[in-house]
Every structure is written in structure tokens, then in C-alpha cells.
């Protein structure tokens, strides 16, 4: 098999004050014609740097050593002009976030056409025809109409299809994909992955697929390279990597991936501590603007005293809005919310201290939910003072104990959030919620900003906390494997409505609603000894 990309002993380092930071450390990999090589690693492993270096792009202040041979030429030695001839024509690139990677002020058709104008001698009519052909190829309905639109008029999935069409325009032998489905909904993700598999088989296009998502790679890639701290620790065919990993890091990575097929915790049948009925949220009409459709309507759900209820659905389905309406952050426009039998006011300002204390909220991204200018001690002191009226040394003791609860040392008290890792920050955010001594915690995508190995430890933390205290969790997530591991019951939301609610195993094995079925069909699984390998 001839190779279209050969990276040999690549090293990329950045000058930082007081030394150099090596992002990529002697990495080697090959991609054969018509092959998909998956490059998997956690954040900061240097996988995206490899992708950019293959495109001949180094961040300011970075230097590269080794060689990157694409199409028979070393991109590290190319002149700017030769590089411009190579990019787009011989190597396509699909970016992580199409929303920011498409020019907002240019029609998407023009953005595809300019690649063809640059690299081919086609006349305008031929270019137009080719654009329509490409749009059809990547599965866009009514291509002619879509091509005349601006990026913001397309959905995320459509934008990513446009970006793929852009990469395919000149039929390059190689495409680099940098986390192309991160941030997309699972069903859209599934469609994009199927599209890529079809393109490989139909056009024999080789791909370097960069991602943190090992199960996704297992269903798409031919071979996988595993990256950690700038090094490639292991490369091999998918089956070998997943079933017989050699490197310790690969084994840990696989162990951390939750299994969507193992049974969920047994249902509890408790009396509810929290109940919402007929819950609706409508945003007000603006000046000269019609009233928008309700964000959430007619949501009925209950939460047992030590139960975990998962709220799943795609972006914009109203999961977060529901949780925020329950805790009062958003005013509900209709419906009732009761806690322990007593009704909760729609507005935050009308709830008393006990209401506020009993329901706590943990946000998706700890970078945003912790004040960057306050130390961990100051952050944890707030709920202690507000809810329990304790200050000073006693408060510090309590804060230290709360840190121990989330498996952090008391020495972290003096740190700023920026001096903690992502996982540690989320633990601090959880400790802040625990300090209120709540009965319910609303968890809004609390794992999605974290690497998979960190996710696994936070899941264990939640399971332990729930065992040790009487704690009800409303767990918003888009990751169904995590949901099955954690939750007793699942509620499925679509377009602001609850379409299905039931016991986890029942939902996973016998979904009633077609939308739930499509969500379940989009799950990526690791092939194992006891399971059938797909494809």
C-alpha cells in the first residue's frame, strides 16, 4: 500500500518565557491511500498540533523538527508559494468548529468555489456545477438553494458538511479532520461519520482523523494511533488497539470509557422529593418583535429522594432551560414546582433561604462557574456564610472537609481556579454545591468539558456521594453511556417537550419514541471480546 502521508520523528516546540514547551515529541505515523488513521488523545496531548503541522502551519514562535512528507514532498521545507499550491489541492482540512471556521460574511457556495478557482482551471459554469455536485455528495438536500446561504443560516451539521465539501473540492488524496464532530449532536455526528466512511470507500480518500473520542474512532478508523504528552504511545489496527492494548495509557483510556450496554442502577421506587408539572418557559416578545415559541412546555417530572434522573436530548431541546426553571434562575411562565410537598416560587427573589439551600446547581464548565479572581477558600466560604452563617476559622475547617469529600487536599484552598486542572475545578464546583447541604443537585452537562479519564473519576465521585448522603441528582447529559452508568431513570426531551420518561434499562432496551431510538442508534461502542465488532 502506498503512503500518502508520512510523519517521521516530528517534534514541535514553542518558546515560552524561561524555556521551551514541547507540544509534539518525536511522533511518527503513516497514512496509506484510502485509509483512515485515527489519532486519539486527551486535551493537550499535541494531536491538533500534528494536524496543523501537516498543513504546513506552525503557531507563532513554534519550531518543528523531523519530516512531514505529504504527496511526496516535505511540507516543512516548502516555500510559501509551494505550500499554497499543496493546501486545498493535495491536502484538505476539516476544522473542529465549522461555525467559526466559515467566513460569516461570504456565501457558503462562494467559499467552496474559491478553492476550485484557486486550484483548477475550470470555467465559472463548471465550478458552479462542481459545487452542486459536491454539496450533493456530502448529503445536503436542495444544494443549489443551500449554497446561496450564509453560514449562520445553516445548522451545525450542514455547516460541517459544507466544510467537508470544501476539503473535497479538488479531490485531494488526503484529508485532515480536526475533531470534526465535536460539539455536534449525536445523531448528526453519526450521519457525518457515515458520510466519511462512504467517501473513503467511494473515492478512496485517505484521512487523518483527530479526536478524543475512542468509541467513535472504533466505528470508523482502520488504524488508531494513541497520543499522550506529545508522544505516540501506540499504533495499530483498531481491533488490536481496543482488544489487546499494549501501552498502559491505552489500557487506562479504554477502561475509562463507560459501557452503554451494562445494566443501569436498579430503579428505586421512592416517593418524590422534587416534582414539576406542566412546566413551561416562554421568553418575552422584544421591541417590534413577535413572541418566540416557548422554549419549554408541558414538562412533568419527579425526582426521588436518592434517585438520579437523567435528562437527555440534543442541543436546543430545553434540558438546561428545564433545570434552570426548576431552580428559579429562569422564571417559568406556567406550571408548578414543588419541593418536599411545598410549592417553589417562579422567581428566585421570592424563594426563601431553605428553598435556595436545598436545590443546588452545578454548571457545565467550571472555568465559567468559578470566579477567576477568588481563591478556592473564598469561593467555598460563600455558601458556608450565606446558608449556615459561619465565618472565619470554622468556615475554613468546613471548606477543608468539603474538599476532602471531593478528594482534594486542603492545600488547594489557597489556589486560584487557574492554578487547578479542569477536573480539580469541577470538584471545587461540586464541593461548593455540597457545602449548602442540599437534597437535590442539578448537574448541567458537568462532564462534557472534561477528558474521559477525568470523567470516569467524577462519575465515581457522584456514585459515592449519593451512597453516603441522601442526595437526588437531576443529571443533564448528551452522553448516553454515562447516563446508563449513573441514572435510575431517564427522561428524553425534544423541541422543548418531554417525549419519553422511564426506567433506564427499559428506555435503552425498549425505547418507545422514534426519537429515543435514533439517539440510541447513534451510540458508538468499543468492540469487545463479548460484543460484536461493528463494520
Amino acid at each position: 500500500m502506498n503512503t500518502v502521508l508520512e510523519v517521521e520523528n516530528l517534534t514541535v516546540s514553542y518558546a515560552v518565557p524561561g524555556g521551551a514547551f514541547t507540544a509534539v515529541d518525536g511522533a511518527s505515523l503513516q497514512v496509506g491511500a484510502g485509509e483512515i488513521l485515527g489519532l486519539v488523545g486527551e486535551s493537550g496531548s499535541g494531536k491538533s498540533t500534528i494536524g496543523h503541522t501537516v498543513m504546513g502551519h506552525l503557531a507563532p514562535g513554534a519550531t518543528a523538527g523531523g519530516s512531514v512528507r505529504a504527496n511526496g514532498r516535505d511540507v516543512l521545507d516548502l516555500s510559501r508559494a509551494a505550500l499554497q499550491d499543496l493546501r486545498g489541492a493535495s491536502i484538505g482540512f476539516v476544522p473542529q468548529n465549522p461555525t467559526t471556521a466559515l467566513n460569516p460574511a461570504m456565501r457558503v457556495g462562494t467559499q467552496i468555489a474559491e478553492v476550485l478557482r484557486r486550484h483548477t482551471g475550470l470555467d465559472p459554469a463548471a465550478i458552479r456545477a462542481r459545487c452542486v455536485e459536491l454539496a450533493t455528495d456530502v448529503g445536503l438536500p436542495t444544494p443549489a438553494a443551500l449554497l446561496a446561504r450564509y453560514p449562520h443560516q445553516l445548522s451545525g451539521g450542514q455547516q460541517q458538511r459544507i466544510a467537508i465539501a470544501m476539503a473535497l473540492a479538488c479531490r485531494p488524496p488526503l484529508i485532515i479532520l480536526d475533531e470534526p464532530t465535536t460539539g455536534l449532536d449525536v445523531t448528526v455526528q453519526r450521519q457525518i461519520v457515515e458520510l466519511l466512511a462512504r467517501l473513503r470507500d467511494g473515492h478512496r480518500i485517505a484521512m487523518l482523523y483527530i479526536t478524543h473520542d475512542l468509541p467513535l474512532l472504533a466505528s470508523l478508523a482502520d488504524r488508531i494511533a494513541v497520543m499522550q504528552h506529545g508522544r505516540i504511545v501506540e499504533t495499530g489496527p483498531v481491533g488490536d488497539i481496543v482488544r489487546r492494548p499494549r501501552a498502559a495509557y491505552t489500557r487506562a483510556l479504554i477502561a475509562a470509557v463507560p459501557d452503554p450496554d451494562s445494566p443501569a442502577p436498579a430503579p428505586l421506587h421512592e416517593s418524590p422529593v422534587l416534582a414539576a408539572s406542566g412546566l413551561a418557559v416562554t421568553y418575552p416578545a422584544g421591541f417590534l418583535r413577535r413572541r418566540p415559541p416557548p422554549a419549554v412546555s408541558g414538562v412533568d417530572l419527579t425526582l426521588g429522594a436518592t434517585e438520579t434522573l437523567a435528562l437527555i436530548g440534543e442541543s436546543g431541546s430545553g434540558k438546561s432551560t428545564t433545570a434552570r426553571a426548576i431552580c428559579g434562575l429562569i422564571r417559568r411562565s406556567a406550571g408548578d414546582v414543588t419541593f418536599d410537598g411545598r410549592p417553589l416560587a417562579p422567581a428566585l427573589g421570592r424563594r426563601d433561604g431553605a428553598d435556595l439551600r436545598d436545590i443546588q446547581y452545578v454548571f457545565q464548565n467550571p472555568d465559567a462557574s468559578l470566579n477567576p479572581r477568588r481563591s478556592v477558600a473564598e469561593i467555598l466560604a460563600r455558601p458556608i456564610e450565606v446558608f449556615h452563617g459561619i465565618r472565619g476559622a470554622a468556615a475554613r475547617d468546613r471548606a477543608a472537609r468539603a474538599l476532602a469529600d471531593v478528594e482534594l487536599d486542603a492545600e488547594h484552598l489557597g489556589r486560584l481556579p487557574s492554578e487547578l486542572s479542569g477536573g480539580q475545578r469541577q470538584r471545587v464546583a461540586i464541593a461548593r454545591a455540597l457545602l449548602a447541604e442540599p437534597q437535590v443537585i442539578l448537574c448541567d452537562e458537568v462532564l462534557s468539558a472534561l477528558d474521559v479519564s477525568v470523567q470516569a473519576r467524577i462519575i465515581d465521585l457522584f456514585l459515592r456521594l449519593q451512597r453516603e448522603r441522601r442526595l437526588a441528582l437531576l443529571f443533564i447529559s448528551h452522553d448516553l453511556a454515562v447516563v446508563r452508568r449513573l441514572s435510575h431513570r431517564v427522561a428524553v426531551m425534544k423541541d422543548g417537550r418531554l417525549v419519553e420518561i422511564g426506567e433506564t434499562d427499559a428506555i435503552f432496551t425498549r425505547p418507545q419514541h422514534p426519537y429515543t431510538e435514533s439517539l440510541l442508534a447513534a451510540i458508538n461502542r468499543l468492540p469487545g471480546e463479548d460484543r460484536d465488532a461493528p463494520g
Binding site: M55, L83, A101, M106, E114, R118, Y150, L288
Partner: protein
């Protein structure tokens, strides 16, 4: 539909702002605590003169009535009589405003290339020697008060080298050539002073855009540098710059006052300064309202321009 609605709401907001400005100006001019006539004429003025002024200002009427009368007249084009010249304010300010408008338009023609070219050069290679040099030049120019740089230009190009007249005199019988020649030096000065702000803002927004994902993506498509700059970077950088330029009209009006004073230019700015010196109240209120109205109008144009230029706003909903 959505575009019209957005544009309409901008227009309504602008009119409301102008209304608030009229309250502020009227309030400051006539509603300040204490006796307006004494404030205008000074404590030592003869009581008879003060009394005459009080009657002229209509101070015997309630404030609300006075405000209503003033606004009604102003909307109909009657800006009152100047104390100093005993002529209608519009007759006095009208020709001055025309001169200043000509000066500003010419200055704007200098402003465009003087701000776009250096900023584009800077953004091509940020943090390199050329970028630093232009930054230093703009900081120095920006830091020099308008009256200093204007005086310096006057000294260099009208006193030392006699390219231009040191005093701008405009008559009705001037030919277009003479008119332009008389206007060039003050207009160039004004354009350059304004461009120092323009360069900085355009550079910032160009550099910002240059670092965005879609520009990297354009480079990954193998597009030429020129195409990336002209088709991907500039269109996206010009929208915020246009709005910043409109906000700069406030500086332009301030700059006009100083430049007109230095070159003894018979324009709106120097007329306003004279009126302020003599406390010629009808001219002052009219002048300040006109300045604010110009500012609001230009910003309204920029807002609507941004609506037209930005597909995200234009094609909403």
C-alpha cells in the same frame, strides 16, 4: 422584514436620543440654578440689561412652556435670533456650516487612505518592525494635542514653506480651484489627526480577524495572501471599523473646532466658539444641538450600513 424592523428600531432610538439631548442642552442653558441673566451677563451688568434679557429669554414663563416653544420653533427651522449679530441664527450658522461640511468631506477623503493603508500594512505582519514603527508614529500623533499639530502644520506648510495661505479666507467669488486650495491644508490636518484613531482601531480589528478560525481555514484552502486579505479579512474587519469611525465623528467635531481656530477658518466650529465666548445663547443651543444631531445621524447611518453589510444581521429570522 426583519431588516426593516431593525432599521426602524434604530431610527426610533436615534430620535429618542436626540430628544434627550435637547432636554440636556436646554436644561444646561436655561435651567441651571440661579438667575440665567446674571450668569450670562455677569454679576456687574446693569439691572436694566438683565431685565431686558430675562424678557427676551422668556424667563417669566414656566420652563416647560419655554421648552415646548423652543422645540416647536426649532423643528420648523426657526432657531431664534442671535444676541450678538441681531440676525436669525440660521442665517448666521448656515453658511458657516456649509464651509465646515466642505472641509469635513475633504478631510474624510484624506482620512480613508491615511487610515486603511497603514493599518493593512501593519496587520500583514503584526509585531514586526514596520508594525511597531507605525504604532509609534500613531501614538506620537495621537498624543499631540490637535492645536499643537495643527499649529505645527501651519508653521511648516504656510509659514516656513509658503505652499498655502496661513489664514483661510473664503469669498463668494472664489473659483473652485482657489476654494480647494484654501481648504487643503486644514482638511489634510484634520484628516491626518482623525486617521491616527482610524489606524489604531482598524489595525486592532484586522489583527483580531487575522487570528480567527475562518482565516486559518482560508489559508488551509491554499488561497493567495491577497485573496485572504481582501475577501476574508477586510470585509469582516470593516464593519466594526465603520462603527468606530462613526463614533469618531465626535472627535472630528472637536477637531474641527480647534483646526478652524488655528487656521482662522470661517466655519461652524469657530462660530460656535465665538458664540460661547460671548454667551450668545440662541447660537450656542442651536450649535450644540446641530453638533449632536450630526453625531447621532452619522452613527445611525453607520448602524444601518452595518445592518446592510453584515449578512448575519441582514438575513435574521
Amino acid at each position: 422584514m426583519s431588516f426593516l424592523r431593525l432599521a426602524l428600531s434604530r431610527i426610533v432610538a436615534s430620535v429618542f436620543t436626540l430628544f434627550l439631548v435637547s432636554l440636556i442642552v436646554f436644561g444646561t442653558a436655561q435651567g441651571l440654578p440661579g438667575d440665567a441673566a446674571t450668569r450670562i451677563l455677569g454679576r456687574e451688568a446693569p439691572p436694566a440689561a438683565k431685565e431686558r434679557l430675562r424678557l427676551e429669554l422668556g424667563l417669566d414663563m414656566p420652563v416647560v412652556t419655554r421648552y415646548a416653544q423652543w422645540v416647536t420653533a426649532a423643528v420648523q427651522g426657526d432657531l431664534g435670533m442671535s444676541f450678538a449679530t441681531r440676525k436669525p441664527v440660521s442665517d448666521y450658522l448656515g453658511p458657516r456650516l456649509r464651509n465646515t461640511l466642505a472641509l469635513s468631506l475633504l478631510a474624510f477623503l484624506f482620512y480613508l487612505p491615511l487610515s486603511i493603508l497603514p493599518a493593512t500594512l501593519q496587520a500583514r505582519k503584526p509585531d514586526r518592525p514596520l508594525d511597531r514603527l507605525i504604532t509609534v508614529i500613531t501614538v506620537v500623533l495621537l498624543s499631540s494635542p490637535e492645536f499643537l499639530s495643527a499649529t505645527l502644520f501651519l508653521f511648516a506648510f504656510a509659514v516656513h514653506w509658503r505652499f498655502f495661505p496661513p489664514m483661510v479666507q473664503l469669498h463668494d467669488v472664489m473659483s473652485w480651484g482657489e476654494y480647494l486650495h484654501a481648504l487643503t491644508l486644514p482638511a489634510a490636518t484634520l484628516g491626518l489627526l482623525l486617521a491616527t484613531y482610524g489606524v489604531r482601531m482598524l489595525r486592532e480589528s484586522l489583527v483580531d480577524i487575522t487570528r480567527s478560525d475562518f482565516v486559518l481555514m482560508a489559508e488551509f484552502k491554499g488561497l493567495s495572501r491577497a485573496r485572504v486579505l481582501w475577501r476574508h479579512v477586510l470585509p469582516n474587519a470593516l464593519i466594526p471599523w465603520m462603527n468606530a469611525t462613526a463614533l469618531n465623528v465626535a472627535f472630528l467635531i472637536g477637531g474641527v473646532v480647534v483646526v478652524e481656530k488655528v487656521f482662522a477658518f470661517p466655519g461652524f466650529g469657530s462660530a460656535l466658539v465665538d458664540a460661547l465666548q460671548f454667551r450668545d445663547l440662541p447660537v450656542i443651543t442651536a450649535g450644540v444641538m446641530i453638533a449632536a444631531a450630526i453625531f447621532i445621524f452619522v452613527n445611525l447611518l453607520a448602524d444601518i450600513g452595518a445592518l446592510i453589510a453584515n449578512p448575519r444581521l441582514r438575513t435574521q429570522g
